[in-house]
Symmetry: C2
Subunit: 441 residues, 2 copies
């Protein structure tokens, strides 16, 4: 799509959007018993009334307003800018936002400010893809290796991947992109499900959900663990008995253990042959994960949804601390940092299995996993993308998973919540939350 | 002081307090060219009108309002509580605040939310010491080893320091506490100065400030580096020529380098025999710091002001990545987490040299360094505490450094900004900021 210049950002609209998921215990795990899946949401308006950029982070209820406040702090650095000049050099634009020294002090590159920058950059990428009239995965898949390398801030990762090494890795995949796109359009991306094994579910529901998942074609089932060992053993046995010896079981402790506890606990679950133990301990503990990985082999260690940035991923990968790289589309600084992490994972030969679920993560990560499969990691038998089947109805283009495979999104842009859902779930004054308040009052 | 029970928290007052330091280039470094030293500030009011708890974090201008928003999000978890029950078990109270799952999701234990929790806990510790009528350092120095161990969340550090190992370390120092207190009251704590070497200063000012520092008795001088190699060489030579071969020079790069750049750059500064290179690269890069430490020896590596929590300190120490542990009183979760880090530093035999400067950090860290000297690290010839001589006049009890030694604070509590300074520097509507706006408008 040709555009007149400039494309001015005329406003930054923020919203605190929350879904009352805690009432059904969907999403309950050992660390997070009662999440209300939420989105600090940002809409960039432009001088073209047809074009808005939508972006968000993922949060779980109270505190969403803090990320919204951080997005508002960023607004003066975005309003009035010409988005077309940003699109011409997204690497420089992202580095500029990340480099504002007073905000950097609040991290650097972690926590609330980093999530807010991620949300704003997600909106800019959405706008970028919309101006081109294509989905984000395609926008990335059509970029040259040089353009992709220019997206990345190499300063703190150059000791693992240099720009020239990155260029070489990307160039080796260019010739295979076209066939891979065709293949992905035909068969989609392998998904796994977490819908069977939330900690709040009773045994009957776990069994029912597991059977449903198998009927839907899933070969990989993930179970939350870590609250009670006897219960975990019983639930793992239930699921292993249901799925048989061939399908894959994964377990996820959501950071509840110390390093020695993780090793001890997993010795009791090893009999159920889980493929991975996810988040066994603090997501900051690189050396701890490395110790766990060594102790629990052949069970492998997975982490990423709380790994704060590319500097941490670099070390987790270099130390052999994770064997599955679970990037999150909203924890890190949007696509620029995701590309850095995909390159690091490729460098260390680790498959990228994005974290999803929550609200909107499925809609976002399908773009990232598709791009990885097309242009970076390529064919990777161990790549499975998390899928959780809720809240998709709120998206303009909901995730579609058929026979346990994500279908490629085709709408221009990244991911966008429907206007009517934003209106209904706006916190605290949207009608859904007024109803909740009335029911409590 | 005896108290009737309960001591109820009746309110949480937040303030965004900023000092326009960017106009004088005090505090300028390679990463932070124009900081306005700021404090997201919290006052806990109680049902005893004589008793309020003051706490704050340290920020550098815009974004302070985001930390204030985070403190406000915490307020409902504090208001209405009985502080006396918290004081009886500060470990449980801190873990409760840190464990609120929806806020934890925004970290965990890092960035804006962690700083906000630190500010609130600083206020609770201030209140605690005031109810006892003693300064915080004394409150800690009078706790039994068991009480100190109970302050700490060991879950993610137990692989380095167990509760029983911590108890043993603390018990071995108990008998020496009394003499150390007497000695500290007599001679104070060794300080070093950063006031000579801000990056925004010209050569003449650096020389003048260095001479003033020597006249004031300083034997340790720190210089900011990392913007321009030739300039750094010239400034290091200037200062080394001024201070002679016996005094200590430290250099601080404020995270501007990659790992290979740090090693290369320091090879040019090695001729000036700096004691340490501070923050050579990303504060998240444990393995990078370890590589730098190996390459630049005998120059040692220092870091801490941006190290986000005890889990990271554990690894920096275990990996030999830092030889000086620069705890920050506001980056981590107040005294509870500081005690954890002091224990880790002791375990690995690394001296703790707190980060200070900014606004209020000197007033806070003197308590922490004194406690370390009395009850944890003990006699430690390499312990020097940063001192920067500005903004002290805004404190009810300003830091006092005489002959380059911090004097022990004697007022009950932790640190508190004067009411008239809060009133004048309140952003954006305090009179000082109205004047700035008028001058700009």
């Amino acid at each position: 799509m040709d555009r007149r210049s400039p494309l001015l950002i005329t406003g930054v609209r923020t919203l605190d959007v929350r879904f009352p998921t805690s009432r059904s215990l969907d999403g309950s795990d050992a660390m997070n018993p009662d999440p209300d899946y939420s989105a600090p949401y940002v809409i960039l308006t432009t001088n073209d009334q047809q074009l808005t950029g939508h972006g968000f982070a993922f949060t779980i209820g109270p505190g969403t307003e803090v990320v919204v406040a951080a997005i508002e702090a960023l607004a003066p650095h975005v309003v009035g800018g010409d988005a077309l000049t940003w699109f011409a050099d997204m690497g420089t634009f992202a580095r500029r936002l990340l480099g504002i020294s007073q905000f950097r002090w609040l991290g650097p590159e972690k926590g609330v400010m980093h999530m807010a920058i991620g949300a704003v950059l997600n909106a800019v990428w959405d706008l970028f893809a919309k101006t081109r009239g294509i989905p984000v995965w395609q926008l990335l898949a059509e970029m040259s290796p040089q353009e992709l390398v220019a997206l990345v801030d190499f300063r703190y990762i150059v000791d693992a991947v240099s720009p020239s090494a990155a260029l070489e890795m990307l160039e080796s995949e260019v010739g295979k992109r076209k066939d891979r796109v065709a293949e992905l359009k035909r068969v989609g991306l392998p998904a796994y499900t977490t819908s069977a094994g939330w900690l709040g579910y009773d045994d009957e529901k776990v069994v029912r959900r597991t059977r449903e998942a198998m009927a839907d074609g899933y070969t990989h089932i993930k179970l939350k663990v870590g609250r009670d060992l006897e219960e975990d053993i019983r639930r793992c046995r239930l699921v292993r008995d249901e799925i048989g010896p061939e399908r894959s079981l994964m377990v996820d402790a959501n950071q509840v253990w110390s390093v020695p506890d993780a090793i001890e606990w997993m010795s009791h679950l090893a009999q159920f042959r889980p493929v991975w133990i996810e988040e066994p301990t603090s997501p900051d503990d690189i050396l701890g994960h490395a110790a766990i990985a060594k102790a629990v082999a052949p069970i492998r260690v997975a982490s990423g949804e709380h790994i704060q940035n590319r500097v941490m991923f670099k070390q987790f990968l270099a130390a052999g601390a994770i064997s599955f790289c679970q990037i999150d589309a909203c924890r890190v600084a949007s696509i620029n940092e995701v590309v850095a992490i995909l390159l690091l994972a490729k460098r260390y030969g680790v498959p990228v299995c994005p974290h999803a679920g929550g609200v909107g993560l499925c809609e976002l990560v399908v773009h990232l996993a598709a791009f990885d499969a097309i242009a970076v990691g390529g064919e990777q038998p161990d790549r499975v993308v998390e899928f959780v089947d809720h809240l998709h109805e709120h998206f303009v283009e909901p995730s579609v998973v058929q026979q346990a495979r994500y279908q490629l999104p085709m709408r221009p842009g990244y991911a966008e919540i429907k206007a009517e859902s934003l209106e209904r779930y706006y916190f605290p004054n949207g009608p859904v939350w007024r109803d909740v308040a009335d029911a409590r009052g």
